[in-house]
Symmetry: C2
Subunit: 194 residues, 2 copies
């Protein structure tokens, strides 16, 4: 059964990016700090971190992401588009389909649920992963379409920036199904009942 999975890194104080996010500073003042556990920024991920990185694509058939995340990732993603999957970009600004090697970016202008429907069609029995940004994650939670939430809690206080959680409807129970702790991150998987 295909699931919709949010998979995102946050600081211990709940931010997905530091202050000062811009096209040339996608994570603001935090730089790559929140993604060091992927092996970026010279860090040496442990087996637990590598497993968490791999799990993001293990059974994934499509990606749904926000427009800002696409914009800031377009150049760093390189010629193959990084994801190697059909990607659906939630946006208000239309743009033709973009093919980058094994990755296709489809720009969906009629809302999150439409992007998710297209992703489901593309993914078949495989899962849909939402890697961000925070606005799209919050929309997914508000719409009640999230089956699983994977939060990678990075041991740093940023003191400000883009909060992961915002206007999420009050009191939503979660069920932790897996916790993997390394010195680079605490990887927590929660199941949500729809």
């Amino acid at each position: 059964m295909s699931k919709l999975i949010v998979d995102i890194s946050q600081s211990a104080d709940g931010y997905v990016a530091g202050p000062g996010v811009a096209l040339d500073a996608p994570f603001g003042s935090a730089g790559l700090r929140l993604h060091r556990w992927h092996g970026l920024d010279g860090a040496a991920p442990t087996e637990g971190d590598k497993a968490a990185s791999a799990a993001m694509f293990d059974n994934t058939g499509a990606i749904v992401l926000g427009r800002r995340m696409f914009d800031v990732g377009e150049e760093p993603g390189g010629a193959d588009g990084a994801f190697g999957l059909p990607c659906f970009v939630v946006t208000s600004r239309p743009r033709p389909v973009l093919v980058k090697g094994p990755t296709t970016f489809t720009f969906v202008t009629d809302g999150l649920l439409s992007a998710i429907a297209l992703a489901h069609a593309a993914a078949g029995d495989r899962d849909i992963v939402v890697p961000g940004g925070a606005a799209v994650v919050q929309q997914c939670l508000a719409a009640g379409v999230v089956d699983e939430l994977r939060v990678h809690v990075v041991p740093v206080l940023l003191g400000g920036g883009t909060p992961l959680f915002g206007a999420v409807p009050a009191h939503r129970e979660l069920e932790p199904t897996q916790v993997v702790a390394t010195h680079l991150a605490t990887h927590i998987t929660y199941r949500l009942s729809r």
Copy 2:
């Protein structure tokens, strides 16, 4: 060597209380949800939860807490004052020392650092624990006096309320030293370098 330890429960989205905090609703709409792992509210804590509860007092010689936390806990704390330790309440409103069985509450009106100094004198070689509220925790982090941060992340999204972290100085590195995962909470201990 005596340490200053912040020990506090938060929701997965970073709140220590839901909306609507009042004297008769100390955790607002969240009720006792964030403290179920202590065995409150009919829950059955596991060994991991019990160990996390016990650790709060294992080597503790004094408590520093905020005035609101004192006020909302005064009645529920009962005749013995719950803590069984010298407690120092950071407040702007003076009040004579209050003795409740083995617990003494000293009201300190000349600031957090003064309360911590008194707590150190009372605790000797034992640790000082700061159980909240959020305002005092944030003051401790801003003052750079925290040696250890124990966060009990409860699997629920509250969607609003009192955030644990606020105006904390930017980019403070943490070192996770222990993670204990149960179905009721993910108990994370961080070391901070002063």
